[in-house]
Amino acid sequence: MSAPTPLPAAFAEIVDDFQALGGRDRLQLLLEFSEGLPALPARYAEHPELLEPVPECQSPIFLVTEVEGTGREATAHLFFSAPPEAPTTRGFAGILAEGLEGLTVGEVLDVPADVTEQLGLAEVVSPLRLRGMAGMLGRIKRQLAERAGA
């Protein structure tokens, strides 16, 4: 067993924030992430076909990534679209947006797949629903790896 890769600072902070709260307050924090999810820029809002669906989520969510540069040093940008009737999915997207936006592609690829389990949301959201968040992370990584050639 190798030592786990440390989380990027922004993501580690989010994990700490969730861990510091009790169950019901974790839901409230997830709601805040849901409400804080940035709107799509016009170039995607007007072209929803450019976004990739995430069927692991129960509710419709679409995501797209952009890279500046090539390889692991490229900078990653993330964009998400989910309707207001799907606040859980929006909340997951909001966490990923805040935790990963602007990192290098290499840093995102190194984020452990089980990071979604470190948020302490399983008991208030259910493990099955968390799989949707893991599905988003998996797709973000694959897109970034393809686009950056990393």
Binding site: L27, Q28, L30, L31, S34, P55, E56, Q58, S59, P84, E85, A86, P87, T88, T89, G91, E123, V124, V125, S126, P127, L128, R129, R131, G135, G138, R142
Partner: protein, 299 residues
């Protein structure tokens, strides 16, 4: 029954109008003693974004399922859930939720596994309430704990297990999923994580009647004549013979279960909650692919 029925004329067309309330009735009766409103959604966070004043939240994953046995909660678990939700055995429960009341119908169905005497559905659910601009709040209620007896769950009348479905092939078996799920045409792509089931298709001999055909555009149920045109005239179902409905995990089929049992008055309707998630993955269970129901294999 502690709370009067909704006398709305629009409900009287159905076989069991006592199982529905209108948004107008609920608005007038909010706060009535003996009435508890329950919100049950697909999205676990939707309630926190705002809900009908006084409504308590019951979540299908977190409250109704037992993750260890992969079954519903038992009598003790249900009594505890009801008790902390402020519900006693003589409480009138009105359930509503998102997605045209899928999860609300599912919760209602689970409540009936425990024989709760008076549980009704808000016709149109959350969407209808919101569309009419009725009050919503983020304030979480703090219901006074209630005493709820430990009642054994009784699955047999309204719940089907896979062995029973296998014995039922050729009967009035209805698949309420989308046409694409029914035929087995799948949209997954290579190298993508595959959630759900290994095989696509349907249970042999099942008829395809997507649940949404019973819902009007506003999320309310269609009128009885329209429903009869689908299930009686078109499908030729016999209301006095048994029916089993299924979908992917039992939530959409709860909606159809409610339609057949309470709106059309079918006498014997069961929901196969194992549904395609179980059947599609199970060893030694036959499937059919394509648009035709298919034949029951010789056994």
């Amino acid at each position: 029954m502690s709370v009067p029925l909704d006398p709305a004329p629009s409900l009287q067309q159905y076989a069991h109008p006592e199982k529905l309330v209108t948004t107008a009735w609920l608005a007038e009766n909010l706060g009535t003693e003996g009435l508890v409103v329950v919100e049950s959604d697909e999205d676990v966070l939707l309630y926190e974004t705002g809900h009908i004043p006084g409504a308590v939240k019951i979540d299908w994953h977190l409250d109704l399922n037992d993750p260890v046995t992969r079954d519903y909660v038992d009598g003790e678990g249900f009594a505890a859930l009801m008790g902390r939700s402020g519900i006693s055995r003589d409480t009138t429960i009105v359930v509503y939720g998102d997605k045209s009341n899928w999860w609300a119908a599912y919760a209602l169905w689970v409540f009936e596994l425990f024989g709760h005497p008076d549980v009704r559905l808000l016709d149109g659910g959350r969407a209808a309430w919101q569309a009419e601009g009725r009050p919503m709040t983020k304030d979480a209620p703090e219901p006074a704990a209630a005493e709820y007896p430990v009642v054994p769950r009784e699955d047999a009348p309204i719940r089907a297990y896979r062995e029973q479905v296998l014995d039922f092939l050729g009967g009035q078996l209805v698949d309420v999923r989308s046409p694409q799920e029914y035929t087995g045409e799948r949209t997954h792509m290579p190298d993508y994580p595959q959630e759900g089931t290994v095989r696509g298709g349907h249970i042999p001999t099942a008829r395809s009647v997507p649940w949404a055909r019973a819902a009007a555009e506003d999320g309310r149920f269609k009128g009885r004549e329209e429903l009869e045109a689908i299930y009686l005239a078109e499908q030729g179902f016999d209301a006095s013979a048994p029916v089993i409905a299924y979908c992917r995990i039992g939530e959409r089929s709860s909606h159809t279960w409610f339609v057949l049992r309470y709106l059309l008055g079918f006498e014997d309707v069961r929901n196969y909650d194992g549904s395609w998630t179980e059947w599609g993955n199970a060893v030694r269970l036959p499937i059919a692919i394509g648009e035709e129901p298919g034949e029951a294999p010789a056994r």
